[in-house]
Amino acid sequence: MNSEPLLLATPSGDKLELRPEGPWIAANVATLEMLSRSVGVNVSQSTAVTLDMSGISALDTLGAWVLEKLSRQAASSGRPAVITGVAEHFSGLLEEVRQVNRHTPALTAAPNPVLLRLNDLGKATIGAREDVAIFLQMLGSLFMALIGVVRRPRSLRLTSLVYQLYRIGFQAIPIVALITFLIGAIIAQQGFFHFRRFGAESYTVDMVGILVLRELGVLIVAIMVAGRSGSAYTAELGSMKMREEIDALSTMGLGPVDVLILPRVAALVIALPILAFIGSIAALYGGGLVAQFYGDMGPAIYIARLHEAVSVTHFKVGILKAPFMALVIGIVACSEGLRVKGSAESLGRQTTTSVVKSIFLVIVLDGLFAIFFASIGM
């Protein structure tokens, strides 16, 4: 129903008369670009250009800009274009477009790719140092906040703490129990399957007991909590940072550490040992079920073997690590959250960083603890 836009060019000697016709609107942009390009050479070569606008049936900003560009091209190569026949209701828009794109901001020189790499490398190196500094800073401010709470116990945000405990502790129990149960069962099955060849099936129980209580129970739970709650902390604090909620908080004389971070980290430190305990029990239970149905070992024998194989020391070794892991997860999650900049993309990036970093640190910490406990003979 709409006719195509046209651009009639009538050269007469050095002069050029351009007559755009039809709808010069955004929907026809491909045609418009082609048309204006096709007369480009003629425009720059002629000494006088006339633009007769009387044939235009519809015009929008994009069309007006393409026409304006033609007339600027004429102006830049000599004589400015004479514009005639402008319909009254188009003149405002053409006038508007005449004002725009008059100056181009200074281009920033494209950086040398080698320098760019070196720059990135340097930034990453300084960034690593900064990471450590931020971690220590957060640890320090948490400690200060804790001292404040010890001095004035009423300043503890109890509601917030209980709510966080509910969210990251209580609500996590089903999934933690399920996964550790499955892991316990899988380890036991592998144990029976492989130890059977040496007739050493009964040692499966030793393996399950020690592995779960010392290492796996707490490690798996810590990794799950980092993924589940650490990421939530980062996203929450990050979006609060994005909407200037944290700035609002500090202007009211309340530090984000006291109000937001201490209750969250404290909740993690309390909840993780409990979750680790629940996880270990679930794993042992999973192992017991496999022992009964796959390893032909009744519950009574399983429990008796377990009793012989593990001591309270193993349990202590595992559970002692939990609060430290919780602290690391909490600090990483909260400080990454505070590093979020204004955009949605940076929120996503910081959340990923938080989870990756806290899982990495949890595993490193576990290794350090293994060395420590070995050297004190536990």
Binding site: L62, W65, K69, G92, K341, S343
Partner: protein
């Protein structure tokens, strides 16, 4: 502009919208004529934004019908109607991970095939038309001032020169000079492109200078609609309070 030339760009009939137990719009009817600039006034929290968002299809309605350009708007907003309107949200709603330039180019890129060069020029042109400088084009939304955010959002709403423009408080947060420029720009565009503009505003200057008609929303209904001169004479208590309150004194003297 290819659609049959209906007289009304937007027709709202018996619209009921609510959240939970609260009914925000209660059997509201409103017509917006093609090519007019309609200003919508109403108390803060009275449901202006809700009305706008319901027309666009973002909020489900309980009952009533909505037609935009002769097509009834279903619960789902489909792409075909989406390109017929440009929307300025009250909070800007810029894409935070795109630069200002990319924000303005986004609708162009999605709906048209054009060269990068032309796209850059159009984006800068739009930004300058709403009063920003080319230097601001590479900033991210988090680096903008409140008024600049508004202007970028406006430039994005105008990117495709859509036949219908929904503006939610476009001049709030702008200085009076910028607000005046904005009014002039809307007038120019409306004259050239025959835009229909649905504008929520509390700016009395905008209401008097650019709006062809003004609708007043109170108690979930449109209680008065007409040119501003008629509204000033309206007997409805809320409309009287709105236009004859202390803050409207200046306007009153101006109109006399």
């Amino acid at each position: 502009m290819a659609e049959p030339q209906a007289e009304f760009a937007i027709r709202v009939r018996d619209l009921v919208v609510g959240f939970g137990r609260q009914t925000v719009l209660d059997h509201l009817s409103l017509d917006v004529r093609r090519g007019e600039i309609l200003g919508l006034v109403g108390a803060s929290g009275g449901g202006k934004s809700v009305l706008m968002r319901t027309i666009i299809g973002l909020i489900p309605r309980r009952s009533g019908t909505i037609e935009v350009m002769g097509q009834s708007i279903g619960g789902m907003h489909d792409r075909s109607t989406a390109s017929t309107w440009g929307i300025l949200f009250q909070q800007g709603a810029l894409f935070s991970s795109l630069t200002v330039r990319q924000n303005v180019q986004f609708p162009l890129r999605e709906n048209l095939t054009l060269s990068q060069e032309l796209m850059d020029e159009i984006a800068i042109a739009k930004l300058e038309m709403v009063g920003l400088r080319a230097e601001d084009a590479d900033k991210y939304p988090s680096e903008l001032s409140g008024g600049m955010t508004k202007r970028v959002a406006l430039a994005r709403a105008l990117a495709l020169d859509p036949p219908i423009l929904f503006l939610d408080e476009p001049t709030s947060g702008l200085d009076p000079i910028a607000a005046g420029d904005f009014d002039a720009l809307i007038r120019t565009l409306q004259k050239t492109l025959g835009l229909t503009v649905f504008m929520v505003t509390h700016d009395l200057a905008s209401l008097t200078t650019v709006c062809d008609r003004v609708a007043a929303l109170a108690d979930g209904k449109i209680v008065a609609v007409g040119p501003i001169r008629e509204l000033l004479k309206s007997e409805h208590p809320w409309v009287r309070a709105y236009f004859h309150g202390k803050r409207s004194q200046m306007l009153q003297t101006q109109m006399r």
